[in-house]
């Protein structure tokens, strides 16, 4: 059974059909790429998958469960976590606390326990800290754990966003242009991290990317989106050699 099974997804804004008849199947543990020119509707697909927008058509099935039309909060609890194209960190919280917010739903001691500092608070906070530090270590952020998130350099902010998403213990991780604004060195490092996440956490990953090198380097399968519609879909090498794709997307460059 596929981890993510989307069929006939669509949404209109006013008269504009932003995404139309979008279908996608991702197997567990797969690293999947979603590419396409600017304004093709890639981020809109993410917003539909995470419930930021309600789809007007189509069905989204996550790990055998229909999650179509659910709210963002609920969808995260069902197992989809994401990052954002324009980084959205909790800027006034520390790096550690950003990850702890991600762990929020797994350690449900009550507010009263928190205010009275009951044993459940102490115990769970200790585990939360340990887990958060483990995650931060994966992204080489453990030394900066007491920094305010807004004080991190750009590349590290992107990593922290991924760490925070992973903290929610998702089945599927959506990365929206993780390499945007990174230099070639950082991009290379990021590729390794993404591969590491997949292997270490046995994660299924869907990523939006502009950087062709990154896409062809790590994605096993690709979907190309153009004007809100699927232009090509399949193995990375096949898709990248597809003449339609070259014309619509790569040819423009």
């Amino acid at each position: 059974m596929a981890m993510l099974d989307v069929t006939g997804l669509g949404i209109s804004f006013g008269g504009l059909r932003a995404v139309d008849d979008f279908s996608l199947k991702i197997e567990k543990g797969e690293l999947y790429g979603l590419i396409g020119p600017n304004g093709a509707g890639k981020t809109t697909v993410f917003n539909l998958l995470t419930g930021v927008y309600k789809p007007s058509d189509g069905v989204i099935i996550l790990d055998g469960k229909n999650i179509t039309g659910q709210k963002t909060t609920q969808i995260n609890k069902e197992g989809i976590a994401r990052t954002f194209q324009n980084i959205r960190l909790f800027k006034e919280l520390t790096v550690l606390d950003n990850v702890k917010v991600g762990l929020h739903n797994d350690y449900p001691y009550s507010t009263i326990a928190g205010i009275l500092r009951l044993p459940s608070y102490r115990k769970q906070e200790a585990i939360m800290k340990e887990k958060a530090m483990e995650l931060l270590k994966v992204f080489d952020l453990d030394k900066e754990c007491d920094y305010l998130a807004s004080n991190l350099p750009y590349g590290k902010q992107r990593k922290l966003e991924i760490a925070r998403a992973l903290a929610t213990n998702p089945k599927l991780l959506l990365l929206d242009e993780p390499a945007a604004g990174m230099n070639p060195n950082e991009t290379k490092e990021l590729m390794e991290t993404i591969r590491l996440i997949r292997d270490k956490f046995d994660m299924t990953i869907l990523l939006i990317e502009h950087d062709m090198k990154l896409v062809s380097g790590i994605c096993e399968e690709l979907t190309v989106l153009n004007f809100g519609q699927v232009l090509a879909q399949g193995k990375t090498s096949d898709v990248l050699n597809n003449p339609d794709v070259i014309k619509a997307y790569l040819g423009d460059d």
């Binding site: 909790f90 919280l93 606390d97 205010i115």
Partner: protein
Amino acid sequence: MNKQLKDNLITYGIIIAFYAIMQTLSATGSLSSLFKGLLVPVCVYTIMAVSLNLTVGILGELSLGHAGFMCIGAFVSAFFSMCLKNSGMNSIVRFIIAILLGALVSAVFGVLIGIPVLRLRGDYLAIVTLAFGEIIKNIVNVLYIGKDENGMHLSFTDTASLNMSADGEVIVKGPQGITGIPNDSTFTIGIIVLLLTIAIVINFVNSRSGRAVMAIRDNRIAAESVGINISKYKLMAFAISASMAGAAGALYSHNLNNLMAQPKNFGYNMSIMILVYVVLGGIGRIRGSIIAAAILTVLPELLRGFSDYRMLIYSIVLIVMMLFNCAPAALELREKYSLKRLFGKKLKKEEA
């Protein structure tokens, strides 16, 4: 020692030291009666400032109706105390129950008001909280409640329409409010409530719920994306904030003989006054709120001749503070001429 823990201990320490000094001065008779009379109000307004800081600084929403919650707490607690005035109950026990009741009822109103209000954004939220504060004040001003052997009587028109029996007692008298409230508020109880308030806020902020609230403040969409229930935590912070204002109201009303809901004590101007304390003390900084509220409550009373200019100076300070702390140009300038940098340069020169 953990930096945060140290910070919190300093806050508690300042309050306890303040208490100890005041008690010593009071015992040796070196405290003027004017100053003594200010001790409870200082507690009331510091609690108000801390609780509003929870809404403005931690939750990140501007409430201009905080005095309304104080009004609810003041009236509910005073009403309770009046009902049990002659019951022979120990006055301290009765007062503790009154404070808790004031806090509880305010929290309930916080939830009821928060449900519609917290869906709104920014300026809309500010104006609607202001509206709620004014509505509460207006309703209290037309509220008549009396008690006789048949039980409670309620009216929104006048005393006569309560239909009381001859030996009944009217407790809430519309614009005249409640008279003859037992003076149960003491500096000691005020300080204890203040310490509890601060402990609750600090512990809340450092728990998962508090983190969730701050996450919503910093980025609502990201908070949703990691599975935070937005309305639940917004409402929670708002209700806790309201309950603390209710407790402050209870301290306030039991420090008076006659409690009336007037623009000056429960109107939006008071809400804005509390906001001034919060802003001057630093938004999101608990200790700052306490110090600002305490100083600004005491100072104008001590400098009576100065009182004409008090509000004028507040308003100028408010504007200058906001421009200095928030204007991008000012921030740049500060960055450029900050002490740290100037020192840094100096050190480098010396090295060279």
